[in-house]
Symmetry: none
DNA sequence: CATGAATGAGTATTCATTCAT
DNA sequence: CATGAATGAATACTCATTCAT
């Protein structure tokens, strides 16, 4: 029912007698960190603004100094994660010399990221689906990430590194496999991102015929 | 904000002089039909019981003669669709003589079903994700469907129709591709289930190397 | 959560295939019997008309053929018990030759009645207090019973069987002791009406000086 | 249907220009005062939270800033009265040198209290009975008060100030007489607590033989 | 800026009562 | 008369948002 339970803006300082001199960045960050936990735990729909600030040492009204409403925090959170992950993925693809490497790097990066950030996995997972319309395969970050990948795939096709085919569908398929195998992987113990990435890569390279 | 806007128990008859004319089956069905639309439009989280009955010529209290709460209607709806679809899929797999046919039949059935029932696609799509915990890759119906498929896949492995590999991961992958390509397909115009099924099948049979 | 659980209008006949030929008296009685249980269990405020008919094999609407609403059944029930008890008490007083006997008979009758009818005790006890305004020391039946006793007391004063004093207060006191000692008695095991009556009688005859 | 009709937090000041002027203590108190009236008028069962806040210039939600629900306000109210009255009663008993004084002080304190606080009498009277289970002879406050008195009575028995007898029954009887004579007294005009106390005391000391 | 109490619109749910069959 | 589904007014309670301090 509680992961941490109290996220102070600055965890190393006890609440001073005089009201803490919070600065903008610190408070905003405290809200975001609390929101990440709460969304992961209760899902977007089940979360209230009060659930978030309760996990903070801030007051209700303070929330509205930083965000317009629940949706905006959620968006900010997703943007944070999305941008971080997209950067990693893009970097992985750029280092690839063959198409197989591109696929393999992508999956390994993706699975490893969530294996190392299970909290972020919980967040996205609890909120896959719409309900606020900013999540899922259709969330703006995911969409952007898929678009970037599709561009790289199309380029690879141009360069003859892979036979030409419906790039949109291929991209969708790669994404779909990423999501579903991620779920499968995270349920296992131990979590083995490397093995998951290999499975997915092999599947895309040569199908089940392997 | 409104697709239809008034679902009478019997659309061919104007509100009868008497209000009590409706019989059990009819009213239950009217609620389900209204709920299907509303959930598709607003998503599970965004839907209120009042939204549902408002799309009906029934009274508030009548809703509770048929369902305990929002979750139960939603469940009923999902069960309806899920059981119908699972039956079709199972049937397709049983008719398959090779593993390729199994995959191909599965995809074709799946894509065709939603191509023909766009309303049901809208419903599932708006509610992919949790929030009520009965939907998505983890919804009971989807879970059951995947379990059935995994069983058939394992049997095929026993029979040597496909090389042995991690059946759970393979099942997850097949499911993931189904979801993501379905989305891609439904956005296109015209909707081409056959083509989508062929793409997915080929991918699984021999990867991108084709 | 259930004392009996199904009070059929006629407990000796299984529900016949054809709708039972209930006659007025039978149905009315079935409702009263069910109501007695339910009021005892849930209290007047906590009881709904549906709670009552649910304990019956009758239909909701049938209730309204016999009673206007919850209050009326409750009233009828109280009238039943009240009249029965008042008759017993009056009879006991008439047989008394001295004032002490009058008091003693009254208490013994009263305590014995509830010792033998614990269900009726539960009913009155759960509903002592107002909430519907027909219960308690001020319920019409109790009021009537006290008035009858007061009349007998006044007569005894006229006859010189007891010294003159404020008859209304004395009546109230006798009643108050009846209620409070009844509660005390019913909580004990075994229930000893005779002992309780003796205690109360002695108290009124000579106070604690005994 | 209305005694007063609007209880402002501060009756001497017209609604101030600002709505937020009220402080915690004031609002809490306004709710309690309104509740006292409403419970007295409609009884516990007949009272809704809306009835209470309607008698206030506060908003619905504000009620829930101070109390969890109807039962809690009721409890708070009863606790207030109960503790006040129990303290007075205990004090009266401690000042008694004989057992007769103990009884006499008790009754005089009790009857005087309600003679001076008719609103509190209305409250307890309308709610004597259960329905929420916190009232009456069985309400926690009454129970506590009776227990305290029983302890003092038992001590008096030890000290030989009164002959030994069933202390529980005696306590119950004293309580029952208090309730019933209180009702009788409050109906009279003028209200004469002294006379009522004398009557009750004499009754307990020497019975009707006086 | 921070605070946190006040606000009140909004939602789920119940239940007495009606009435077509 | 009996039936039991339909009705809809009524209530408890929540929660995003405001705003005086």
């Amino acid at each position: 029912m509680s992961l941490d339970s109290q996220i102070t803006a600055d965890p190393f300082v006890d609440k001073p007698a005089t009201k803490r001199a919070n600065n903008r960045a610190t408070n905003q960050d405290a809200i975001l960190r609390a929101a990440r936990l709460v969304f992961a735990e209760l899902g977007y729909g089940g979360t209230t603004v009060r659930d978030i600030i309760r996990r903070t040492d801030l007051a209700t009204g303070t929330f509205y100094n930083y965000f317009d409403n629940k949706e905006q925090v959620f968006l900010a959170l997703n943007t944070q994660i999305g941008e971080e992950l997209r950067a990693l993925l893009a970097q992985g693809r750029q280092q690839a010399k063959t198409f197989e490497e591109l696929i393999a790097n992508n999956y390994l990066t993706y699975f490893t990221y969530f294996a190392n950030n299970p909290q972020n996995y919980a967040l996205t997972r609890s909120n896959r689906g719409r309900d606020g319309a900013n999540v899922n395969m259709e969330g703006p970050q995911v969409k952007a990430g898929l678009a970037e990948m599709q561009a790289d795939i199309e380029q690879a096709m141009q360069l003859g590194r892979v036979s030409k085919m419906d790039a949109a569908m291929l991209t969708a398929a790669i994404g779909g496999v990423a999501f579903s195998i991620l779920d499968d992987m995270m349920q296992r113990n131990p979590v083995q991102p490397k093995q998951a990435a290999e499975f997915a890569t092999r599947l895309f390279m040569s199908g089940i015929s392997t």
